[in-house]
């Protein structure tokens, strides 16, 4: 059987020991999987993504990526750091935090430059990425003159420009209009078909069945509540209610069916 990309073994994390944000999590993520992490606000989805991307380090337990332990010491190793950052791309929830360069062009060039591509290749890479996402016209714009949807596209472009194996997305559809949401779903589907591993944290149930082949659900105690196929988990209304992801009277469409509230 194929080796998992990420191995989490009894992984816990919290800024204060009595308030864990991720608690004793065991998880394996395999190459080419498309995983959606579901959970109510504050259930630890974003924290998990930051742990997987080596931005935060565990308080207890073990986490390994590509067969190497993911800890502060290893990430200080130049070669491992470069290889890991190239392989794992992170699209942040707040695009403003991600777009720190003076122009869109510089922003997209940042990743490839840090990873040591030569200037000619960087130029070509940036232009191709901008064209792929249909934002070539924004190249010279400063980020403060972009709309929310445009910012998200640029943020995704910056990450795609280094051709990561694994794509981590934190609430990618937040604040996007339906048209841009649709565009994003289609992009994620193509990336999945191209063999990328995609891990998305969201509470937008309407996109889950299209982008996921595996769903992980967190409860409000920051523990894993379920791990399975989207079809099974999304139709399990009681489960979604238990983790406080939906309200008794929420209804949403899935697999051509509508999940309705029980008649009161």
């Amino acid at each position: 059987m194929e080796q998992p990309i990420f191995v989490l073994d009894q992984a816990s994390f919290g800024y204060q020991s009595d308030q864990p944000l991720v608690q004793e999590l065991n998880l394996l993520i395999y190459p080419r999987e498309s995983v959606v992490i579901l959970g109510a606000n504050g259930s630890g989805k974003s924290t998990l993504l930051k742990l997987i991307s080596g931005l935060l380090y565990l308080s207890r337990g073990r986490i390994a990526a590509f067969g190497t332990e993911l800890n502060e010491k290893n990430l200080q190793m130049e070669d491992f750091n470069r290889a890991f950052r190239q392989k794992v791309g992170f699209v942040f929830q707040n695009s403003d935090a991600q777009l720190f360069s003076a122009t869109v062009w510089d922003e997209v060039a940042f990743g490839p430059l840090q990873l040591g591509l030569n200037p000619e290749d960087v130029k070509l890479r940036v232009e191709e990425t901008l064209a792929l996402l249909g934002i070539a016209n924004l190249a010279t714009r400063p980020p403060y003159r972009l709309s929310g949807g445009e910012k998200k596209k640029v943020a995704i472009a910056c990450v795609l420009a280094v051709n990561p194996e694994v794509l981590l997305l934190d609430e990618p559809t937040n604040g996007l209009d339906p048209r841009t949401q649709r565009w994003l779903v289609e992009l994620l589907v193509s990336l999945r078909q191209a063999g990328k591993t995609i891990i998305t944290a969201t509470h937008d149930l309407s996109i889950v069945e299209e982008i996921a082949d595996r769903v992980i659900i967190f409860n409000e105690a920051h523990q894993l509540a379920a791990d399975g196929k989207p079809q099974e988990l999304l139709l399990n209304r009681q489960l979604l209610l238990d983790v406080n992801l939906i309200h008794e009277r929420s209804h949403f469409h899935i697999l051509g069916q509508t999940s309705h509230a029980k008649h009161l």
Partner: protein
């Protein structure tokens, strides 16, 4: 959900008597909002001006920087006011060829220079500070004035040397500021910062400046939101104390938010491969035209210098 009764009371329409009340004065919330909008408007305006297809816009920012550096040196050395006036005329011509609105170009410089430089130079006009040939006598005391250990001449006058000197400094400052204005108005800010590399400014300073400039707008948007929220909930002008509290609270919020933001920005830099040393790349191209412009500005600077030596500082 059970709403409390006060939330269920409805009163559509304004005050039944139809009165509008007295007009309240614009308070600091409105003024701040207006100023915030102005900052953004100005920056968009400069951005557009820098994107026009004018003479100076067509130059590589680095060649502009070098060329202007030499011209700045020449202007600082030149003693002859006629040459300085000619130089200013040339700058105005450059501004016109670069689609810089003349009104803005002249106002930006000449409203500021007399105010700051003029005030500083004012004392040098008088013979009490700098002896010289009187041009206009203002006061005549008839005898030498003794104030403590100081002796002042019997007359207070504006001297010819004072006027000449002040005029010269004003012209120099005006020319220098105009040069700087031309440079900043016709170059996009991020490109100008990048061009500073050629003057050996370290990369980390430039990147930090770039990011600072970038986040000014994020924080401006935040301040704007806070002030709009305040304006929407304000029923009257509010007491001074209330306003002070609001300002203090918004400063605190802004500080907290900018710190949280800086952490997130750093995380996103790390995620994209930043490892302590920033790597940048500029897409500048030094064309033949840029070399010509640098050469031309060096020649002009020399010409200014040589003709100044030939003509001398007299007028």
């Amino acid at each position: 959900m059970d709403l409390p009764t006060w939330l269920q009371e409805n009163d559509i329409g304004m005050c039944p008597c139809g009165c509008m009340g007295a007009r309240s004065k614009k308070n600091f919330v409105e003024k701040t909002l207006f100023e915030l909008a102005r900052v953004v408007r100005d920056s968009i305006f400069s951005e557009e001006l820098a994107a026009k297809q004018g003479l100076l816009q067509s130059l590589d920012p680095r060649s502009k920087l070098i060329g202007f550096f030499f011209l700045l040196l020449a202007i600082a050395i030149v003693q002859n006011p006629v040459l300085l006036l000619l130089a200013y005329a040339a700058l105005v011509l450059l501004a016109l060829l670069s689609y810089v609105p003349l009104g803005l170009f002249v106002k930006r410089v000449w409203l500021v220079v007399p105010l700051f430089t003029g005030v500083m130079l004012l004392p040098a006009l008088f013979n009490w500070l700098r002896p010289g040939d009187p041009l206009i006598t203002l006061l005549n005391f008839g005898h030498v004035l003794r104030v403590g250990p100081w002796n002042f001449p019997a007359t207070l006058a504006i001297t010819r040397q004072g006027v000449k000197g002040n005029l010269l400094v004003m012209l120099r400052v005006g020319n220098s500021v105009s040069l700087a204005a031309l440079l900043t108005l016709t170059t996009r800010w991020p490109e100008l910062l990048k061009a500073l590399r050629i003057l050996f400014v370290p990369k980390i300073f430039i990147t930090t400046l770039e990011m600072t400039y970038r986040y000014i707008f994020v924080l401006l948007a935040l301040v704007e939101d806070m002030f709009f929220a305040r304006k929407a909930r304000m029923l009257g002008p509010g007491s001074l104390q209330e306003n002070r509290h609001f300002i203090a609270a918004s400063m605190g919020t802004l500080f907290g938010k900018s710190q949280a933001m800086s952490e997130e920005v750093y995380a996103s830099m790390l995620a994209r491969g930043y490892s302590g040393e920033i790597k940048t790349m500029s897409s500048f191209h030094f064309k033949l035209w840029d070399w010509a412009a640098v050469l031309l500005s060096i020649l002009l600077s020399l010409l200014l210098f040589v003709s100044d030596k030939a003509l001398g500082g007299n007028f």
